[in-house]
């Protein structure tokens, strides 16, 4: 059974359509990346799935339940990292974990969570004294303390420096290997590509592309072969890079010349993403 099923989901705020009938499904144990620019509808989608918002139309099933009707038993099974929420300023890191652990029937030990999020040394630090990255890691710890099977991560690394982001990715990967289902929203292409089994690109409330990261790049525009001839850059766009490259090199070999600065460039997810989301501005 799918962990999440969404069909024809619609939501408007004051007459503005935030979601225009999106559909997707997330299998159990899958990491699903919802990628899109700010204002595309990512948080609206996630908040409907978490039960905070009522959709205008469409069907939503999360762990087999309608989030608006689901009760405490259902919330035992989910974990939420909100996009923006503060911490209790006067509780320490460890006390946060212990407070939230108390809400669940079978919580994980706070020492275990501290190790997982790498905050052992900050266990006795109060919420108000933590840095941005440390707060975000504690957000993740709070979401994990109930040992959920489904995890919502709403822009979990926004504002991180590159080192902290990589560390967070490692943590999220380790969660995937524990078999957790994860819905990740992000506007970082690299993050979606590295962490997700499947990605959906959201633009102005619509899913404009979806598939595995490699499927998305495969469906993309042609590969590009570039080199320099007589000091001039030559660029060839082609759907058949193997054949074109073979012809080029054969010709150069016969002529006894070197193809200077020869490069074969496959489109990255970033280029695909930009080509998909650029249309929005036109």
């Amino acid at each position: 059974m799918n962990a999440i099923e969404v069909r024809e989901l619609r939501k408007s705020y004051d007459g503005v359509e935030a979601l225009r009938g999106i559909s997707f499904a997330i299998g159990a144990g899958e990491v699903f990346g919802l990628l899109g620019p700010n204002g595309a509808g990512k948080t609206t989608t996630v908040e409907i799935l978490e039960g905070y918002r009522q959709p205008d139309a469409g069907e939503v099933g999360v762990l087999g339940r309608d989030p608006r009707e689901a009760g405490a038993g259902w919330r035992e099974r989910i974990g939420v990292v909100p996009q923006s929420a503060e911490l209790f300023p006067n509780l320490t890191v460890k006390e946060h974990l212990e407070l939230f652990a108390g809400y669940y029937a079978e919580p994980r030990a706070s020492a275990e969570i501290l190790a997982l999020i790498g905050l052992e040394e900050k266990a006795a630090a109060r919420g108000r004294t933590l840095s941005g990255g440390q707060r975000r890691r504690l957000d993740l710890g709070i979401a994990l303390v109930g040992d959920p099977e489904l995890l919502f991560l709403d822009e979990p690394t926004t504002g991180f420096d590159p080192g902290a982001r990589r560390a967070a990715w490692e943590t999220i990967r380790s969660l995937r290997s524990l078999g957790k289902t994860i819905l990740l929203t992000t506007h970082y292409i690299e993050e979606a590509q590295r962490l997700s089994d499947r990605v959906a690109v959201l633009r102005q409330g619509e899913i404009v592309a979806s598939g595995t990261p490699s499927e998305l790049t495969a469906a993309a525009p042609a590969s590009r072969i570039s080199f320099r001839r007589n000091g001039e850059e030559v660029v060839i766009e082609t759907e058949e890079p193997t054949r074109v490259l073979h012809e080029l090199t054969e010709e150069a070999m016969r002529a006894g010349v070197e193809l200077e600065a020869l490069e074969v460039h496959r489109p990255t997810l970033e280029e695909v993403y930009l080509s998909l989301t650029d249309e929005a501005d036109e």
């Binding site: 006067n90 006390e95 407070l99 669940y104």
Partner: protein, 249 residues
């Protein structure tokens, strides 16, 4: 029940660690009492013993500062910080949470009332009250009513920044016209008429009658009814208007 205690303990820990809350809601009424009682406690006020008059006034001010203002500020700040919303994603039932937060602030108010009474006894030789049951009932009634009003008030506060301005603008004038700090006898008729409609003057009167004249609260049904009515009104607004999610975002 286990969950309630779990949350209550955390609330207590957070309250005493928060300098703002601990000072403005718990300590300030105690400090005011010491200052005012030293200044004019030895005179009669409205024909009553000055110390007792001020003691009842400060217990009333404490109820407004703690159960009303303190609770409203605490809840608005947590709501706007996204903390209440975050709690909604956990299995913790909303009512358990509210009862624990409310219980914690009412507990603080009781500690404060006891501290004031003990202090009055030690520093100014004020007799301990004999109608203890009535006193506890009066304090419980006042605390419950002001707490309900405090939760109801959160529905009208839209931001964390503006919250203390709104709350202070309500409870400080209320304490003044209700005679918390000195006799309101010299105040214009209009202000006194307004005070008569509001709950604090009745709460202070109830506490004073119980403590000074050793009367039972059942001898003052009008005061009890007005306080209770305000409490019910607060509870109705709270039930209809309380929000878990930030208003600003």
């Amino acid at each position: 029940m286990r969950l309630l205690l779990h949350q209550f303990r955390s609330e207590q820990k957070q309250f005493w660690r928060s300098r703002e809350l601990a000072f403005f809601t718990f300590l300030l009424p105690v400090v005011f009492f010491l200052i005012l009682a030293s200044a004019y406690g030895d005179e009669d006020i409205e024909g009553e013993d000055g110390y007792l008059y001020l003691l009842a006034g400060m217990i009333g001010y404490g109820a407004a500062a703690t159960a009303f203002a303190g609770l409203a500020l605490l809840l608005v700040n947590r709501r706007e910080a996204g903390l209440l919303k975050r709690l909604r994603a956990t299995p913790l039932p909303g009512t358990t949470y509210i009862v624990a937060v409310l219980g914690s602030i009412v507990f603080v108010f009781f500690l404060q009332a006891v501290a004031l009474i003990v202090l009055a006894r030690l520093a100014f030789d004020v007799a301990l009250p004999d109608e203890q049951l009535s006193l506890v009932l009066a304090l419980a009634l006042g605390a419950a009513a002001f707490a309900a009003l405090g939760i109801g008030l959160t529905a009208f506060i839209r931001s964390a920044e503006g919250s203390s301005a709104v709350v202070n603008a309500i409870y400080l004038p209320l304490a003044f016209i209700s005679g918390s700090f000195f006799s309101a006898d010299a105040f214009p008729q209009v202000l006194r008429a307004i005070a008569e409609v509001l709950p604090l003057v009745h709460f202070i009167r109830l506490v004073r009658d119980v403590m000074v004249f050793s009367e039972g609260i059942w001898e003052h049904p009008t005061d009890v009814a007005i306080i209770a009515a305000w409490g019910v009104a607060g509870a109705v607004v709270a039930l209809r208007g309380f929000r878990w999610e930030p208003r600003e975002r």
